[in-house]
Symmetry: D3
Subunit: 132 residues, 6 copies
């Protein structure tokens, strides 16, 4: 099994719902350093997992919908508790949509899976892994 | 599959048994930077893998039994060759015990697996992965 | 010249004022991984630059005044453009106040300088350095 | 499941074939920071996954065949498009050969799998995983 | 004193001249992860050291003259031994030229100094520091 | 001003003397990831700060006198409180001795200064800087 990982980041404000979150129930923020990993059993005709320039652009495109925003005010996220785990799944699912839609090229339709990891500090990260 | 990883560390003295360890047969020491990864197929009712504050406390609790000690003199480790691999398993097993005992909350009983990685330098690490 | 550096972090929301900030004029957020460096020409009577436990506590104390907050709503920051540079100076100045007040112990009054670095992502950081 | 990871690096020149590579079709170069991960269900008689000194030597031995070279001129790579993915597989396969040949010791024949990750910058990496 | 650091990278081929370089006399390559640090005694009217977007663009602009190239074939580098140290100075000097020419904005003419660090692997880096 | 930094590490046991050290008064241990920085106003005749292979060997040579040892039992350290700061100075001073003795080559006698940084965990480091 092969994989390729590209890194980008986003800087958002949000608050979390639930007494378990303690002070994170207040409006605060985070830099999420995002690692998107693309997996594939066999390489494509260019001997790569995915065109890395297109993968990088797709990740940027997905993150730009969230970057420099207060997630509490985003209509698309109304009713969503934007934990790191939930954001990891959201980003993975939106990347999967773009892959299916051909935004990463025809060859990328042969990808087998995705792993999205959000590093929220030097001490903590969350990840979501899914098939394609 | 979701996961959450938290980082902590411990600073221990020990020696290793077996000619293969060369100079590490002498009493020496290590800082182990420990990444504990908690895995779960579905998020809990707070939309997280685990209450990260409780997970962090549990990791600290487990490490505090080893931290700032000479492992060669720990009664609980008598007869144990405390390689990085063995310590990774020990920490994972003790975390699993705490999860089962409810120390990370009721919801944490729904966790599916654990991965514990010990970084012993910028060049080497060992890990142990288990189900729950 | 000796130095000791300790790392902590904070997660804040804020917005920046000035057309040059582009999308960062919107309410967004950041994780700042904070490195506080304490400098001293000669070691103290314990052969250290500073009691690292007290230094770590002082950094946490200063950061806890900002952590998990929307800096746009903090009365103490009213009228302040909370750029990374400004926050680095604010944290350094507040640490200097605590050092002078004896919060890091009598020996810490012999410190010569401070450097505070805020890493806002894997790509950018800002720092402020001052004497004591 | 246990694993041990060791890190080394190589510095090579090469060019890539295919319009998708854009400017990387020109002769350029890369530092690949290489993480080789050895996996094993049960520890060997020394309570380790693999003799880490031998594993480190084997990784160095494999990398030294590529290090400080222009891969476009290597006879053994004639006709190979030396993408990061292809190099990850090449290194993993050559490590597997050495394991089978006994270069890491008899006990290493009990290893279950290998993962080789090549970090080409702070933003991108590729990996190849295989059984043994 | 304030500073701001931005990170980018370049991937080049080259060879070094001199018996002391051993195998690095052969054509090989490197990823240089480049940290450009801008220093200033007082913040500008936007409360920053430098417009970080413009600084990032200027670093990219300077690196793009070297990126994805064989430095042995660059006319501008004919007769230059492109050690990491020499490249650090070259990049710093070219950034200084752009600052003087106003490419980072009028306010950037108030910068006091530059530090350029090139990380060539996880084990080695070189840096060059200069006034402005 | 130019600099070159090389990284190595050592794994030692020790205990610290003084009530301020709390649990670190017990015999414990540390991995110190060591960055040795060599500084020089002008490059030598090979266009480098120092022959990096020789610098790397000298750092290894100095660290090998401490590595895999219990520092409490080292005759050369009798009566020394082996704090991270003291070890940083010790390593810097021993490197300076080797430079003066010609172990890094004649050109290295033109070095202007040294900075030795010991990272004891992902959270703390100490450094010592001196002239030559």
């Amino acid at each position: 099994m092969f994989s390729v990982t590209v890194r980008d980041h986003m800087m958002i404000a949000h608050s979390l719902r639930g007494a378990a979150f303690g002070p994170a129930q207040r409006l605060h923020g985070a830099t999420y350093v995002v690692d998107a990993t693309f997996r594939r059993a066999e390489l494509d005709e260019n001997d790569v997992v995915v065109d890395i320039a297109r993968a990088t652009d797709a990740v940027r495109d997905v993150l730009s919908e969230l970057d420099y925003r207060n997630l509490d005010d985003e209509p698309a996220l109304a009713g969503t508790n934007t934990t790191t785990e939930v954001l990891a799944r959201l980003i993975a699912d939106r990347l999967a949509d773009r892959i299916r839609a051909g935004a990463l090229g025809d060859a990328a339709r042969g990808l087998d899976g995705l792993l999205v990891t959000l590093h929220e500090s030097h001490l903590a990260s969350a990840a979501y892994e899914r098939g394609l």
